[in-house]
């Protein structure tokens, strides 16, 4: 029964992924409007054999599919068809309606496929190519290329109207025009739209102040200078009768992209496009316009890929730095452990002798004068306190080291509570472990992290004996916060020994996991908070 139910869930899961959600419907309505407007705006750059050499609608399409996932493809294609039909691109009575519909469906389908393909290929790869900036760049190039390449197979089975393509050269011109228009549209519009969407979600903070600060001024000046020189060179070559040479633009784009990443690259692209598009929209021959846009497409492409590559490199360097820091923390933890174990051993040997002799001294001096008896009793008490401390310290340093793996926070909390609960009961206190949401997980060495929690709980119990110690875990943005709190002790020096070491070990463990351990007291309450990065399914 259960098995059959599970099987049916698995069978319908992919279909459910394709289902239209309410927020998607709103988005698609807006999309249809934007698509129609941008489609109309592209007309001045048209020519024989192609619709337009600058097609911003492709950028809008790409941004929507990249931002919301390729699963939206069928709905997006439907929205495009509805728009085309509404504005009269084709009518249902037309004898070539089948051809018109397949032609209108192709760009959306190939774009969705290209995005899904790039995401799929990047999955499981660890190099810079699989990092988000580079993935976006690759998809932005793949989508128009695939769109143009698929024209022939899409139309091969249709009764093509006679004389549509007179030769292979016509086909080549038509496909090149299509690819160039899409590429320009995507690379100019999609980054801007995706950035705006991230801004709206609150994922990308707006740092205008940082942009105009001194640290950004020099790169800005450098980029502007390089861009201006290259544009001047392009214009000079043009005036000299050598045509629209892309080489200076390529140089500037590659320089700016590699030096300062995608944002700078996008502004460089905009500068180029703003200079050339008004000119190419004017009275130019098709061949000239195609030539100009081919050069422009090459420049835009190189600029964007250079920017993406630079950002991907930066991201991968940051990843490496983070890994190195974690490694350093783990090494520190190992040293701390080895040292404390050695110290405990060295102390426990003479302490054994001291404790036995002190106890003996106390019992044989009990009947002597009050001063001697009190001295002996004091020595005995201190020796016993020290023995207790050594035993407690021994429990703070866990020994087993395991491999990092995804661990549910609920499990960590439960294990730590199980370990400490009997000790709490024996000491007359109580542990209150709040239930934890089952979907919270962290990438962790389970035994280590449990040890950190246990240390905090033991410290809390020792600091407020006979009272309630609380443990709770809550998600906060991209982190999970695990809080251990206890009523503040009445006198500040009531804390028993060994707590500093337990805390130091807990802190080192947490930091080795890329988290933080902080103390936020409230009136009458001591609270330690472990903050750890939550494990999420999506990489980007």
């Amino acid at each position: 029964m259960i098995a059959r139910h599970a099987a049916s869930v698995f069978r319908t899961a992919p279909l459910r992924g394709l289902a239209l959600r309410r927020e998607d419907a709103v988005l698609l309505a807006l999309y249809a409007l934007g698509f129609a407007l941008l489609h109309w705006a592209a007309r001045p750059w048209g020519g024989a054999g192609f619709f337009s050499l600058w097609y911003p609608a492709a950028g809008l399409r790409f941004a929507v599919l990249w931002g919301r996932g390729a699963r939206l493809t069928p709905w997006l294609v439907l929205a495009e068809l509805a728009t085309d039909w509404t504005v009269g691109v084709f009518s249902l009575g037309d004898p070539n309606v089948a051809q018109a519909i397949t032609g209108a469906m192709r760009p959306g389908l190939t774009c969705g496929f290209a995005i899904a393909l790039v995401r799929h290929l990047a999955k499981g790869r660890g190099d810079a190519l699989a990092l988000p900036p580079m993935m976006l760049g690759l998809a932005a190039v793949t989508a128009p290329a695939l769109n143009a390449l698929m024209v022939v197979p899409f139309e091969a089975w249709l009764p093509v109207e006679a004389g549509r393509y007179r030769s292979g050269v016509d086909i080549a011109i038509s496909l090149t025009g299509l690819a160039v228009g899409d590429l320009l549209g995507i690379l100019v519009l999609a980054p801007l739209l995706l950035w705006l969407a991230a801004l709206a979600r609150g994922a990308a903070p707006l740092r205008l102040r940082a942009v105009f600060s001194g640290s950004h001024l020099r790169p800005l000046l450098e980029d502007v200078l390089v861009m201006a020189l290259c544009l001047l060179l392009t214009i000079a070559l043009w005036r000299a009768g050598l045509g629209a040479q892309p080489a200076p633009g390529l140089l500037a784009g590659a320089w700016i992209g590699l030096r300062h990443g995608r944002t700078a690259a996008w502004f460089a692209i905009c500068a180029q496009v703003c200079v050339f598009l008004p000119y190419s929209a004017g009275a130019l021959g098709d061949a000239q316009r195609l030539e100009l846009h081919l050069g422009l497409a090459a420049v835009v492409l190189v600029t964007w890929l250079a920017g993406s590559f630079s950002d991907a490199q930066k991201a991968s360097r940051m990843l490496l730095d983070k890994r190195n820091r974690l490694l350093f923390q783990a090494e520190r933890l190992k040293t701390l452990r080895a040292m404390s174990v050695a110290v405990i051993h060295e102390i426990s040997q003479p302490l054994s002798t001291l404790a036995i002799e002190a106890a003996h001294l106390k019992s044989v001096t009990a009947h002597l004068d009050a001063d001697t008896a009190a001295s002996a009793a004091l020595v005995d008490r201190k020796a016993r306190a020290l023995s207790d401390l050594v035993r407690r310290l021994r429990r703070f340093g866990g020994r087993d080291v395991d491999e990092p793996s995804p661990v549910p926070v609920a499990m960590l909390v439960q294990t730590a509570c199980q370990i400490v609960a009997p000790e709490a009961r024996a000491a007359g206190g109580r542990l209150d472990c709040a239930p934890v949401a089952a979907d919270l997980a962290v990438q962790a060495q389970e035994i280590e992290l449990t040890q950190a929690l246990v240390n905090l709980l033991r410290n809390a119990l020792a600091a407020s004996p006979g009272q309630v110690v609380r443990l709770a875990a809550l998600p906060r943005a991209e982190d999970v916060r695990i809080e251990v709190s206890n009523p503040a002790p009445s006198s500040p020096d009531a804390a028993s020994g060994g707590m500093g070491v337990g805390l130091a070990i807990a802190r080192t463990i947490v930091e080795a996991h890329g988290g933080t351990l902080t103390r936020h007291d409230e009136p009458g309450l001591v609270r330690f908070t472990i903050s750890l990065p939550l494990l999420t399914g999506a990489f980007a």
Partner: protein, 196 residues
């Protein structure tokens, strides 16, 4: 509470060895302190220890190797281990594989040490009495005694051992004469190492 067999305390820390030995002495248990495993093994020639309290980490010979050497020379010595590096694996080893009575963490818990040593001495005394009984009997007599305490009659015993009923009776008489016991109950107690 005095025991005839003394206790050996072995620790490479001479002060601790002496302190533990004196602690046992104050509790009515005669104890000698040693700092090297070889000293204890050499002392076995002159003294039959009832119990050895041994450290686990020592210079050239660790506590477990020492335990094996000790058992090879005298199987009736009880062992109590103590350590400053407690691990679960050690604790299990100490008790299961090396027949230790207890496994104590340093700093040492005094009542637990006394209890472990007392138990060890009693176990050792039983083992020695069983060995003493076995020593005076012939191999055949030991077999007959073994079956007797398990409730076999002479008639049942004869076919098992492959001898006549008459011969069984002879062995039986010899056992009673040698152990100077009076009746079955005393024989059973003797075979378990209990005092009569």
């Amino acid at each position: 509470m005095t025991h005839e067999a003394p206790v050996a305390v072995l620790d490479d820390d001479a002060d601790l060895a002496a302190t533990v030995a004196r602690l046992l002495g104050r509790n009515g248990i005669a104890a000698l302190a040693f700092t090297a495993p070889q000293e204890v093994l050499a002392a076995l020639a002159g003294t039959a220890f009832g119990c050895v309290v041994s450290d686990i980490q020592m210079g050239e010979m660790d506590g477990f190797a020492f335990a094996e050497a000790l058992r090879a020379r005298d199987p009736a010595v009880a062992l109590v281990f103590m350590t400053a590096w407690p691990t679960t694996a050690h604790a299990v080893d100490a008790v299961r594989r090396h027949g230790g009575i207890d496994y104590l963490e340093k700093p040492i818990d005094e009542p637990r040490l006394i209890a472990a040593v007392t138990e060890g001495l009693a176990w050792s005394a039983r083992q020695r009495r069983i060995a003493a009984v076995a020593a005076v009997l012939t191999r055949r007599e030991r077999e007959v005694l073994d079956l007797m305490v398990r409730g076999y009659t002479n008639k049942e015993m004869a076919p098992v051992l492959g001898i006549s009923e008459r011969t069984v009776e002879d062995h039986r008489a010899s056992i009673i004469a040698k152990t100077r016991t009076n009746g079955m109950a005393q024989l059973v107690a003797l075979s378990r190492g209990e005092t009569i």
